[in-house]
Point group: C2
């Protein structure tokens, strides 16, 4: 039993209509000629919709949707210390579960099939991810000045989460080791984190050089920039997913490139908080893999990957005065395939053998008329409400605009309830 999609358009394949056959969690065939269904196959007429590889949100903090619209016009440090952390300290595991589901409802509605999330109460984040059907690289954000000042406990938490969730949900869930950053974790914590990642074959997911203040702090404390410090600690011996990388020098870029670090570029969050512009064109010119993330909804305020990739090209082209700084194709690749490699996911290029992580987008709206070419349409014209269907690992998460795995009404009501509690 599988799925047979008929009459889909594919990006960069012109106006031709295609058939796509899915067996279990993989694509089995793609053809402009009719493919034969097997007995029991679900046949879905896509009516000329565009089929694309689903979006990968390579850096987020899902439960932060609760903080959407809280203190919108202040810089990073003030925002964290005065507004975000006071609310987060009061969040229960149950709160985190419902907020994660709210976030995933928005993500799936926008065509996101995989996320890299860093937060706390990770068991409840994982439970929500498992139920929702998306793929995720999950981690517990560790904050500790040293192993003796809380670091031991943080590492044990990460170890337990890895033992419980790595490879769970039929392989949809992976676990990363997440020292929060070089300014919030001490040297021995970083050493132990790296060892744990090496032993278990895990990635490290962390924040790197997000603000000028962070870089100055780390330089004062360690004598080097965040990438220099991480390189000295040997952290780049394991695969690293580095969020932000806004304030990085050419020699930092050399280190990131040599270390095979994947960057999660978060253009909207970096702009909203006034952190700055990551040098995306320079990164890509050096062969650094650049994926795309929304960061948490509190600093975005969306988890919308179409909006995020649009922000990426706007911010790459405008300030540089170079309309070729980031093409439609590059922006879409960053939001899809680059993210998959950064998270360690199987490829999903809509080819036989690839993962069946497929999103259908309507091209019927007046705002996508004419839809000359698929990639251009996604990059410059589509909006998240054009997403009608989402398939992850061969399972439908959304059909015809209806979420199948998340009860939105229940989630909205639970989040409304906890919001009233947190504002009283």
């Amino acid at each position: 039993m599988g799925i047979l999609l008929r009459d889909v358009r594919l990006p960069e394949r012109g106006a031709t209509s295609f058939w796509v056959r899915i067996r279990a969690d993989r694509i089995d065939g793609v053809s402009s000629e009719p493919l034969a269904p097997d007995a029991g196959d679900e046949i879905v007429d896509a009516g000329g919709k565009l089929a694309i590889s689903g979006f990968v949100n390579a850096h987020t903090h899902l439960p932060m949707v609760l903080l959407r619209g809280l203190a919108d016009d202040v810089p990073l440090e003030e925002w964290l210390e005065r507004h975000v952390w006071p609310v987060e300290r009061k969040l229960s595991p149950e709160d985190v579960y419902w907020c994660t589901l709210l976030a995933l409802a928005e993500a799936v509605r926008g065509g996101t099939v995989a996320v890299a999330d860093m937060y706390f109460h990770t068991d409840r984040v994982a439970q929500a991810v498992e139920e929702s059907g998306v793929r995720a690289l999950l981690s517990y954000g560790m904050i500790a000045r040293s192993m003796s000042e809380g670091g031991e406990k943080e590492l044990r938490t990460t170890e337990r989460i890895a033992a419980t969730w790595q490879g769970a949900a039929g392989g949809r869930i992976g676990v990363a080791v997440s020292p929060h950053s070089t300014y919030t974790c001490g040297e021995d914590v970083w050493g132990a984190a790296k060892e744990l990642a090496q032993e278990r074959g895990l990635r490290i997911h962390t924040h790197v050089s997000e603000s000028r203040r962070e870089v100055a702090t780390v330089r004062a404390q360690t004598g080097g920039s965040p990438p220099e410090y991480l390189e000295r600690l040997g952290v780049f011996e394991v695969p690293v997913l580095a969020a932000h990388c806004v304030h990085v020098s050419p020699s930092d870029l050399d280190l990131l490139g040599r270390g095979g670090v994947a960057v999660a570029h978060c253009p909207k969050s970096n702009s909203k908080l006034g952190s700055g512009l990551a040098p995306v064109a320079a990164m890509r010119a050096r062969g650094i893999r650049v994926a795309l993330g929304t960061d948490g909804a509190a600093s975005n305020n969306r988890l919308d990957m179409i909006e995020e990739l649009r922000a990426a090209w706007l911010l790459a082209r405008g300030p540089s005065e170079d309309p070729r700084a980031l093409s439609a194709k590059d922006a879409v690749l960053m939001a899809t395939e680059e993210g998959r490699v950064a998270l360690g996911l199987p490829p999903a290029r809509l080819q036989p053998g690839d993962a069946a992580d497929i999103v259908l987008l309507s091209l019927d709206g007046v705002h996508t008329t004419p839809a000359r070419e698929g990639t251009s349409t996604i990059a410059f014209a589509s909006q998240s409400s054009d997403v009608t269907d989402v398939l992850v690992a061969g399972q439908w998460l959304m059909r015809d605009g209806r979420l199948l795995t998340i009860d939105e009404e229940r989630v909205q009501s639970e989040v409304g309830r906890l919001l009233r509690r947190h504002t009283n």
Copy 2:
């Protein structure tokens, strides 16, 4: 007979539910207490939706939706000369009519109630605007090296359009005089345009300092920057709507400020084409009125004012590293009230006596949960598909997501037909 809206939320007025009464084309009452309907009033339960002043697109070329997705990754001059103009030369008046309707369908769906359009076959643009029910400041884009080289004819066309359309459609349509720019119109053409505007009491709508190449060309030809040249010609003696103003010096800004020029900032178009970033914060600090425009869909590729105002704060905050460079409130003002003043429209601040140009936005989506405050929600979280109802001058253009004045199916079919003709 009027309209009584019940249970609307208003930006910056908290969670209170309001009643809004509309008589003819104006707001008659706004109250948190129930307002009494008159006999024959249409009573509309808004169910807690957010009511806002509709968006004003202060610079666009509506019929260019036909060119959406054409040559996406090239700079301004190459894009115009090799891709845009060859198609435009072949457009018939009938083509322009249908393309304008397609553009207006997108605009109204996104909550736009007024546009400043500069194009050609202006009678057909005006016809579509009249039918659609939006407000518009329309103009015919004049291009002529001198009065004897086509300028006379261009001015006569503008004169005829002004005589036909100024104040038409119950006052919804105004006409501007539009020399295309300082590099495409000669000195005597500018002189005659200014005189015509003065005689008829019209605004001038033009392109100013969009690209570095334009500024260099004008400086070489006239010895001054575009604003210096316009100032010398006395153009700022009439009200001017100046699109772009990307490459303007501090002394240019002094001239624009002293001249009372309204700027139509087009952040997405300027970024997509790699033209650069207009110094919005510096303009606003000098008291220059800055409205917001999408430019044509060919360089955007949307006519979506929520997306445009989001691009405005992104591009103001990221490159400047200042999260206070453009607040949520400033961005929304630019997209609404600043645009109204720039176009010469009556105010629409949702107060008694103001124009009934009201847009209802749903706050029920998972992506706007929680909706802590209306202005923040519009600036950072809403999307154009949240717009459910659009009222202009007391007339419904959209109800519950359905366009009432534009037959979208017919428009899509006509545009499809002419698209096939233009690509064969």
